[in-house]
């Protein structure tokens, strides 16, 4: 009996178009129009500045803990920039700039981070799921949405985000496997930011790349420089075209870096060095994109300053609006809503009980 080599007609590639110094591979430069390029630039700057402002608000105790995105702007914005409005986005939780790109207001993000359920009511009812905190669990929803879109004869595609840590979850495997079996129109975008809280990428999986995991599920996989917005866009555009044409899912691994903490409750100094962080700072996604746009004469120093001022103003307006709204919110009676389409007898009774407690507490001057 022979022992033979099985030839697999599959391999993976790594794509990089714009290097850390802003040099571009002109042949591979995706044909992004000027308007979209500038929209992307603004969104990246907005994402960064908003992150900084949220961090300040958190440190001042004005909002609760949240997951900063700094350093990952190209990875998630380059991906969603490919989507059509009717396509679906299924986020994890470190894609705030992508959520904003898809129409979520800054005010909604602030309210959510301040602990108000009402934040979801401010988000547009478009094809974007809310953030999913349990790691990796959202990827299967993308498969179901994609299958349903095909069932309805639509050419919508579904883009789902997750991190390097999520690739250890069973749901990652189940989602990739189901998507492969059903050839669902799903783009799996891994924001490999090198750290799952304190666990480095190499301790998360023994695989040389995350992209190669695609091969086991019978789908193409590609690794891209996730700090290169052009490469992310190009790879995701290719995946979206494949999905839209009925040729199934793709895994896109974006190699990026989480410049800040996992959440504001985390102290990364406990597990990684300043040297490592500094090394990645030199690969900043915004700086290289700025260089690229300047060289293409789409951006000037004055324009850069104008964008910065404009996004800061937009953020300030949102902070003011959110804080005004917070003052008018806070009637906890709303917590009994949206459990079911119709309130159950038990919840109705609990609601009445709560009202009675509130009234009694008011009379006594104590807490309900």
């Amino acid at each position: 009996m022979p022992r033979t080599h099985i030839e697999l007609d599959e391999s993976i590639e790594r794509l990089s178009i714009l290097d850390a110094e802003g040099n571009v591979d002109k042949e591979r430069d995706p044909d992004i129009n000027r308007e979209l390029l500038l929209k992307l630039y603004r969104a990246m700057v907005l994402g960064r500045r908003f992150d900084e402002r949220l961090l300040a608000l958190q440190r001042q105790g004005r909002i609760g803990t949240f997951p900063p995105i700094s350093g990952q702007e190209a990875a998630h914005l380059g991906a969603v920039a490919v989507l059509q409005p009717e396509d679906w986005m299924v986020p994890a939780f470190r894609e705030t700039a992508a959520e904003v790109w898809r129409g979520r207001s800054l005010e909604s993000v602030i309210l959510g981070n301040a602990g108000f359920n009402e934040a979801a009511a401010l988000a547009p009812p478009g094809p974007n799921l809310p953030v999913a905190v349990p790691v990796g669990s959202q990827m299967l929803h993308a498969v179901g949405l994609g299958w349903a879109a095909r069932y309805r004869g639509k050419d919508q595609v579904v883009l789902t985000f997750f991190g390097d840590g999520a690739t250890s979850e069973g749901d990652f495997h189940e989602a990739m496997n189901f998507a492969g079996v059903y050839q669902a129109p799903v783009i799996f975008v891994c924001q490999n930011n090198q750290w799952a809280i304190s666990i480095p990428r190499h301790a998360q999986t023994r695989s040389a790349t995350i992209a190669q995991k695609a091969l086991a599920y019978g789908m193409p996989g590609i690794q891209v420089d996730g700090n290169d917005v052009l490469a992310v866009y190009a790879a995701v555009a290719e995946a979206a075209a494949r999905a839209r044409a009925g040729n199934g899912p793709t895994l896109v691994e974006c190699e990026t870096y989480r410049m800040k903490m996992h959440t504001t409750a985390d102290d990364p100094k406990r597990y990684r060095t300043d040297e490592e962080v500094e090394g990645w700072r030199r690969k900043d996604p915004i700086l290289r994109f700025e260089t690229y746009l300047k060289r293409r004469r789409l951006l000037t120093k004055a324009k850069i300053e104008a964008v910065d001022a404009e996004v800061r103003e937009a953020i300030q307006t949102a902070v003011d609006a959110a804080e005004t709204r917070m003052a008018s919110l806070g009637d906890p009676i709303d917590m009994f809503d949206h459990a079911y389409a119709e309130m159950t007898p038990a919840i109705a009774a609990h609601r009445e009980e709560f009202l009675a407690e509130t009234a009694a507490a008011a009379e006594e001057g104590s807490d309900a």
Binding site: L140, L145, Y340
Partner: protein
Amino acid sequence: MPKLTMVQALNLALQQEMAADDRVVLLGEDVGVDGGVFRVTDGLYEAFGAERVLDTPLAESGIVGMSIGMAVYGLRPVCEMQFSGFSYQAFHQLENHAARMRWRSQGHFHVPMVLRAPYGGGVRALEHHSESREAYYAHTPGLKMVIPSGPRNARALLVAAIRDPDPVIFFESKALYRAYREEVPDKEEVLPIGTSQITREGSDLTIVTYGAMLRPVMAAAEELQQQTGAAAEVIDLQTIAPLDDTLFVASARRTGRAMIVHEAPRSFGPGAEVVTRLVEKAFYYLEAPIARVTGYDIVIPLFAREKSYLPNADRVLRAARRLIAA
């Protein structure tokens, strides 16, 4: 009216709902070509095609997670867990997402899915194939938990579950699948979720039960009447959550004596909630402590001794005699 087994009655519900509404799709392990290991989906693959009846890879979380996405899109997926004992591998999808999507999105999205699963003992099955863990799902805000007790209400409740705008966990007793036939009208019949039913009237004690335990309870009630003349009122919950306490509270107020029977383990089981409602709403009418006849707080033994675990008519009868003597 044709007389159907519970398997046939469930099949009828699925077939009619699929014919009437193209949002209804089925998915699960072996539900297509094979027609399901208990044949509940028999013939539906042939009738509706692979597009409406999906044979899935062997992964419970995958099945439930995919169903959630389909439901959010606007379909009405009915997924099958081959045995409820394997549904724990999908528990996080139910608890974290199916149950909360409406709440999390403040009503923008909802998850109109049904998860069907065979539950309970009595069919000499392997480990993980005989348990009764409805309390997990009944305890989760956002889910509904339904357990029919016979062919006719199984059909009518499944139709209601498929049409329900919220996620419904639908447990089907394997012991009842082919235990007996019942007249099931071909014409549509829907039983509202969240309503219990009086299946036997009586004035001397109240027995609350559901699912497979209804039959031994009914038998015990007949025997009790013959032996002692005492008339037991029997209430079939049909839905565990949201719990309808109106009938059993009113009944216990009339009879002054109450008992709950289920095969799930006793501590923190559905009976604990029933007893609490009775204490809260009928305490001053009660003439005796409320009795619980349930599975014991152990894993159900392998099938050589499962009968020693499961409540039966004799156990219910003895408890009922003690209750009326108290």
